[in-house]
């Protein structure tokens, strides 16, 4: 199977064969990690950059009162901050959601790649900018969108991201996220999320069942969400 990280970067910049080779070498020895394993925890000293090649992961924080906030979902091809090694300690944790194939790129190798391979560096920086845009979209959702809008918005985002990387081309795709996890990402209770999902099902926009998202009426879902995909930056800047 193709390396999803490389595929993703190729979509963001024109990479030479050498660039691709270098990336292939850097991610040549990924490890399989079981579901629900922390890759790194808040407070840990950052180590290598993590790259998710297969499976799902999430960033999260635990609050003093024990509640959890999921900060981002990582799907195949996603990686964590490039310069993470500059910081003294992590301000959040990263955990696998499903079992996953995870490559690591140590700091020295990462710096060398960013230094010597301009096209790769460009693609990686774009990827990071898109992740930041996604965080801003999440802040906006949490702050100003009603719960049904928030849920619809996240589903639009996940669907588009999955489609971008070729995880699906159907209106249906595998979304192995429990309602509990989604609730922690959306800042609501699992009970309420369940009711919202029911509403979305009844409205004929989408259904999320048994780990599979089926978008029935894309127009309606987008309209409910007030979704504008510009923050995913799929249109690239002309050269």
């Amino acid at each position: 199977m193709a390396n999803r990280f490389i595929e993703k970067l190729k979509r963001l910049a024109t990479l030479s064969d050498d660039d691709v080779d270098a990336l292939a070498v850097a991610t040549a020895t990924p490890k399989t990690v079981a579901a629900r394993r922390d890759l790194i925890r808040e407070g840990d000293r950052p180590g290598p950059v993590f790259v998710i090649l297969e499976g799902w992961a999430c960033r999260y924080k635990i609050l003093p009162n024990g509640t959890r906030q999921v900060l981002a979902f990582m799907m195949p091809g996603d990686c964590c901050d490039l310069h993470i090694g500059l910081l003294a300690e992590m301000d959040h944790s990263i955990q696998t959601v499903t079992s996953a194939l995870v490559a690591t790129i140590d700091r020295v190798e990462m710096d060398a790649i960013l230094d010597q391979r301009r096209a790769v560096a460009k693609a990686m920086y774009m990827s990071q900018l898109i992740d930041e845009g996604t965080m801003r979209a999440w802040i906006t959702s949490m702050g100003r969108r009603a719960s049904i809008e928030r849920v619809a918005h996240l589903m639009c985002e996940l669907y588009l991201r999955a489609r971008n990387i070729g995880l699906t081309s159907e209106p249906q795709f595998a979304l192995p996220l429990s309602q509990l996890l989604l609730a922690d990402a959306l800042g609501m209770t699992p009970v309420h999320l369940n009711r919202v999902l029911k509403n979305l099902r009844l409205s004929g926009a989408m259904t999320l069942q048994r780990g599979s998202l089926l978008i029935i009426d894309p127009g309606k879902l987008v309209q409910i969400a007030g979704f504008d995909e510009n923050y995913l930056h799929r249109r690239l800047r002309a050269a």
Copy 2:
């Protein structure tokens, strides 16, 4: 007056005299911008990197229904994304809050600095990582903190950031943010924010009046907020 951008970067990495000179040249011709002026709008093609030398600004998004979500506050020394020029269009807007002194660094010059001045690049990347950590803290606040906790948390953050850059050393400092602006940042209504501020005043933790934040009982404020400053990454990584 010292250049607050340079001062900030010096706190994040050891800069040579040459580095400082280069930064001074890059920010040598700042412009004064009146309060409430957009520096750039969502949908615009990104231009140069903005650096706030004096005054306050904010990032924000406007939703389809007309409401506004403030995404971040920028204070003296802060700048926007280094690689912003890679994207085709902005996913948010940036506006001055007060009248401000704003320098711009064009893309070519920025790339040259990042390329040739490793220490400066390091400091800038750290600064960007801290901004990302701040976004994650905001997501966490919006998702999982009650309104009084959220307000207290933001006040802790702004106070610490202001203190970091020497805007204040007193428990009191100038915070020229209207309740309306703060409400848009905190994802609540101005009416409710007003009541929360009253509660905080009555509880003896802090008062925010006439553009000035006075922290009366720091311990109590931190306790209300459940504030953990680790995300501001003030402890730097040992070399």
